[in-house]
Each structure stands twice: as C-alpha cells, then as structure tokens.
Symmetry: C2
Subunit: 274 residues, 2 copies
C-alpha cells in the first residue's frame, strides 16, 4: 500500500499539482495549508486544514490523524517574525529545539525543521520525488537563445550566487554586461528584480541567475521560478533567466515559457555539474 | 620640493580635507572635480576645474598644465552609464584601453583606471597617504558598546561581506540576529540600509558591516562611512556599525560619533587581520 502523503503548503498552485500527482499515483493525500500563505481555493479539492505556522502541536496532530507518513513542503513561505509566530505549547517546545538555527540562514532553519519532522516520526521527501516533471530540464527552453554576452553574464552571476550560497545567503543575482546590479538576501527574487530594474544601465539588458546553494537540502526550498518571475524579469528590462537544471522548480513550465517567448526573453537550464 | 598633487574629486567634503592637509604639508594642489558628483562650493577655495568623467583628454591636460605628479581619487562617484559618459577622443581611446574591465566589478575598473594614470606618467596614491587621520581606528568609538549578539552578527556579516568581496561585489551587508537582511551590490550602502529597514524583524536591531574586498586596491574606493551613513543606519532601526580599522575612511569622525551617540548606536573598528 502506498505511503500516505502530508503536504505542508505555502503559496501558489504547486501544492495542488503535487497533490494531484500523488493521488494519480494511488496515494492518499492530506494538505496542511499555512495560514497567510496557502490559497484556500487551491487546496479546496483535497482533504485539507489551514493552520498558523506557530501551531506546531495542531499541525503534527492533524498529520497524524490523517495517517501521513511522508511529508512534502512546497509553495512560497516567508519566514515569520517571532511576533507573528505566536507558537502554541508544542510550537514553543519546537522553537526551543530549533534554537539558534531559527535565526540563521534559510538552510540552517530548514535543516532544523526537517530534523524535527524526522524526530516526530515523519519522512520528509522532495516535491520533485512526487512530481518529477516539475524540475527544470537542461538547455534552452525558449525561442530566444542566450548570446555570448549573455553566457558571460550567466557565468559571472553563477560565481556570485555560489559565493553567496556558500555563506547560506540568497540564491540569486542580476548581472548586466559583467556588472552585478543586485544580489538577493531575504527580500526575495521579485523584490530584487524590481530593484535591478531601477539600477540597470543603458545597453543590452541583464540576466537573472538562480542557483542551488552548495549545502542546500534539496527536499525543501529549491530555487523556484514561475510565470510571475518571468514577467518581473521582463518588466526589469532583463534579457533572460538562467537556472540549474534538475535543481530548480519550474512552477508552471508551459506558462513560464509562454511568458518568456511573449516578452522575447530566454530561459536556460544549466548543467549543475559545471 | 614636495610633489605636486592632483585630486580627482567626487562628492562630499573629503576632497577639500585632503586638499587642506596637502597644502598644510607644503604641497601644491589642483582639484579636478567630476561633473555631477563634485560640489563646486567645496572645491572653491582651491585651484580647480570641473569636467565630465568622459572628457579624459581634457582631464589629463588640466592635470599636466598644473604640473600634478601624484594623483588622489576621493569622494563618492557613481559608475556612469555609457550614454552619460559621452567620451571625448582621448576618453574613447582610454575606454578602449580599459576594455572589458569597464564592465566588470568595481575593483577591475578601478585597477584599470589606476593603470591608465600610471601609463600617462602619474602616480596614484591613497587619500589616506595625505590625510592619515581619515582612516578608522580600531576599537569602540561610541558610548554604546556591541553586546554578544551584536558581535555574533558582526562576525556573520563579515563572513558574508568577505564572500561577496571575493567575487568583487559590494562591500557591505546588514545582519539581524543571524539573519542576513540585505546585501550590497551597486545600489550603494544608503539604499541597502533603507531596504534593510523595511525587511527587519521584531526584536533587537541589526548591524551594518562593511569590509574591504580581498583584492581591493587601497589607493581607491576604500569603504567609506560618513555622518549620513550613521543617520541612515539609525533610521533603519540598526544597533550599530562595524568596519575594518585602517581600511575604512571615516569621512568626518567627530560628526559620525556624535550622530551615533545621539541615536544610541555603536561604531566599532575591527582588526582587519582577524
């Protein structure tokens, strides 16, 4: 009998796509939507419940009531402030177990959350273990192909994003003709793109580069690109998007490529080994 | 006879302070103010001329007419776009000699500019070679001292800023209780501080950390902190500023410390060797 799947859902439609793929594979699915992030309309077709992140006691209880064995965490979630968290008794105990990692980089925090789930008897798996086709393929996906200048910007951006990732900060940057316009910390990719749009220089546009951090647990928080990312990149005057194949979630590949083609942008999946 | 000094002046009052120190030491001084950056009122007391960055032919001619042998580059300058540059004939030849470095990180560009000055027969020296007391001293300069949390944030910020510096991007970041709120690329420290103010979480404030890049030529573009930096850090809700002693220009030390004391912020000069 297939293992029962619990989905911890943030924003966007990916939680529903993971649920649909799991159900198609014969699995039982229960979705725990995170209040303020999960869209109730997206979760509506499946057994689900919406809770605040801080109510860890209730979250574990709900997952157990539904017999969930595997856990997928998927969809955008912004790290809550401690005030917003308002933990329940179990949440406060878990915060104490997470300890200083709660205040560290994302990797440290996510690694701690995954460890807590394991200690509670759950197995955390990647969304891409359920929904394989969500991972970005290698190669150019769009009609427009990156030229030599764009490839040089991609290489520079990759070196910068990896240097940042090595100290557990951000996953992305914007490079225009060798100049690093913006680097991502906790403001998120969309805010960084908006900033890059105001900082860009005359001449040909820049490139958004997103990479997976060297120490990143791929079961959670893979770099994600969706149609909105493509539209924001176009609005910022960029020429294209580069990301690591098999290490990046394309939230809706067809819509991403359609948006890029409509705006004349390229999308390229890089070989993560190079 | 002391060598005659040419000062390539950007914004702020530092060019005038360098000029005053050089004149007090018996040197002849000529200031070449960069149009759009240098403040004519600041330059007024000294022999000076204001030119666009792109008019390199006229800039070299003016420096030669005044017999300048040593050159100091000091004061804030934003990298111009190619459109703003509108180079004269000599400027176009120099752009070609700078080549791809004009589009690379700041270090690459400044190293190329210093090389061009040397090829033209000038010797580029550091502003701190003329105005020694402009370099930040080691230790706490303010009434408030950083506590253990602040020191931990400073160490994290230093690791992040150094990782960025190693790929020739930015010189600073803001860290709050272990979380990196913002990382500086070309937007500049003040814009990064404003962003950090909108991203900061509840709890005790963050820390601004600025470091010198590992490969940075210290004759140009040392990290600079002025009273406005302190006021913007206070407005962003930060607790203090950390910078590397002997590798940071404090544009007006007394005014910086007064602004920090008034706002209850600390300022600490770190040993650059640690």
């Amino acid at each position: 009998m297939p293992r029962r799947l619990g989905i911890i859902a943030g924003g966007g439609t990916l939680p529903a796509r993971v649920a649909a793929a799991a159900v198609a594979a014969g699995r039982f699915v229960f979705i725990l939507g995170l209040e303020g992030f999960a869209n109730p309309a997206v979760l509506a077709p499946w057994p689900h419940e919406i809770q605040r992140i801080g109510k860890a006691g209730r979250i574990f209880a709900a997952l157990r009531e539904h017999g969930c064995q595997d856990i997928v965490m998927i969809g955008a979630v912004r790290r809550p402030s401690l005030l917003d968290l308002r933990p329940d008794a179990e949440g406060a105990r878990i915060l104490a177990r997470i300890g200083r990692a709660a205040f560290a980089g994302d990797d440290g925090l996510l690694a701690a959350v995954i460890r807590i789930f394991a200690e509670e008897g759950f197995t955390v798996i990647g969304a891409h273990d359920v929904l394989r086709e969500v991972l970005a393929p290698a190669g150019v996906l769009t009609r427009v192909r990156p030229d030599a200048q764009a490839m040089a910007d991609i290489e520079r951006g990759r070196a910068v994003a990896r240097a940042l990732g090595a100290v557990d900060v951000g996953q992305g940057c914007v490079v225009q003709q060798g100049l690093v316009l913006a680097v991502e910390a906790i403001e998120g990719t969309d805010a960084m793109l908006a900033r890059a749009g105001t900082l860009r220089r005359d001449g040909i546009g820049g490139v958004l580069v997103k990479v997976v951090k060297p120490g990143q647990d791929r079961r959670a928080d893979l770099p994600t690109i969706g149609p909105d990312t493509v539209r924001h990149a176009a609005a910022a005057g960029l020429r294209g998007l580069a990301f690591e194949a098999q290490c990046t979630i394309l939230a809706d590949r067809a819509a991403c490529v359609a948006a890029a083609d409509a705006a004349g942008l390229f999308m390229i999946g890089l070989d993560p080994a190079t």
